[in-house]
Symmetry: C2
């Protein structure tokens, strides 16, 4: 599989498959068809079969997939046997909601450090997570070997923080600010722009008659 390129869209769907397989496994199911999987994750079964084909022969046509095999495969793909530590920059309302959000229950991910400029927060522990001074960003990223950071800072600070993250070796940034970040090619920025998402949803609802589901 290492020689084969995986499309970005396929990679984005893996966690969804993984989660549903966990559910099937825990409820004692042995086999699952692409049609059942399709119903549950709301992705058409042709897409599911194509996605799975990137990872080699995971099942036989007409026999369904073996739940435990699939689960083990995706678990390894997604590195679920190991806890992934993530840094959070910006411990405001949204940052605190993320600290309370249990990433660990579904995926083996934990926000292990928070960073903020607020001196009242610095050197405290919030929901079990230490909050560091933002000036200690570089030092802590190195000490704790973070690869991925979440930023929930005000828009004005977003690019500056990003530059400092990149400088200190961060390779993936989950960006909750409305700013589109400039990052080098080897760093991936993923935008979660809640305001835009909500605006698109409203647009979809208002113009449902003229929007098609086709891509591009």
């Amino acid at each position: 599989m290492k020689d084969k390129k995986i499309p970005r869209a396929t990679a984005k769907r893996l966690p969804l498959y993984y989660r549903y397989l966990q559910y099937l496994f825990s409820s004692g199911k042995k086999k699952v068809s692409s049609a059942d999987l399709s119903d549950a994750v709301k992705i058409d079964s042709a897409t599911i079969r194509r996605d799975f084909s990137y990872f080699g022969a995971l099942g036989k046509r007409g026999y369904g997939y073996d739940v435990e095999d699939l689960l083990n495969f995706f678990s390894k793909q997604l590195n679920q046997d190991q806890l992934t530590h993530v840094a959070l920059i910006g411990v405001g309302h949204l940052g605190r909601a993320l600290l309370n959000y249990n990433f660990q229950s579904q995926n083996n991910i934990r926000i292990s450090a928070g960073f903020d400029v607020d001196e009242d927060l610095v050197d405290t522990i919030y929901e079990g997570v230490p909050i560091y001074r933002i000036d200690d960003l570089g030092e802590q990223i190195k000490a704790q070997q973070f690869d991925v950071a979440i930023i929930t800072v005000p828009g004005e600070a977003a690019q500056d923080i990003t530059d400092r993250l990149v400088e200190n070796g961060i390779k993936g940034i989950m960006n909750f600010t409305p700013i589109r970040l400039t990052v080098p090619e080897n760093v991936r920025a993923m935008n979660v722009d809640l305001s835009n998402e909500l605006q698109s949803l409203i647009y979809f609802v208002q113009y449902s008659d003229v929007i098609t589901d086709e891509n591009e």
Copy 2:
């Protein structure tokens, strides 16, 4: 434009264009090329030109687009001259962060009502927004004529709440729960699955050498 179908991907990009045009206009810019727009919003200029073409001739090749014209056009498209009221179901940590999130500063959207089961929250006002008993959902949706709701309830409650929202005429749901909702065809559910998003980002970072940017 009413006769022409707009692709879903194009519709999703409109708020992004709109936001950058607001910025250009407020900084006194009169013209913008698709190349400049492309740089700022990180979408390739061919895609931008194709997106704009769905809305008719918005600019002339080589002359750039008129900022004010474009802004006015998108503002109308996105219904920005009118405040859109949205309901929030679930006033926990994430719900409260969303109540503090200023949707109104960028888009003309306001969360105008919260709903929860917590009797300590019910009948209080949080960040200027009244919190209602979840049993009053139907009544308030009708009274306040909501079309769109955000749900941040626990996963177990998500489908039940969704059914009640749909029953009471909600047409768009922004879903922060990990559950994939079942909705009728005329209702749109948009998933903002933070755990999945973060998991994909980590996967991208770990397998950056085998993931391509091609679609499908």
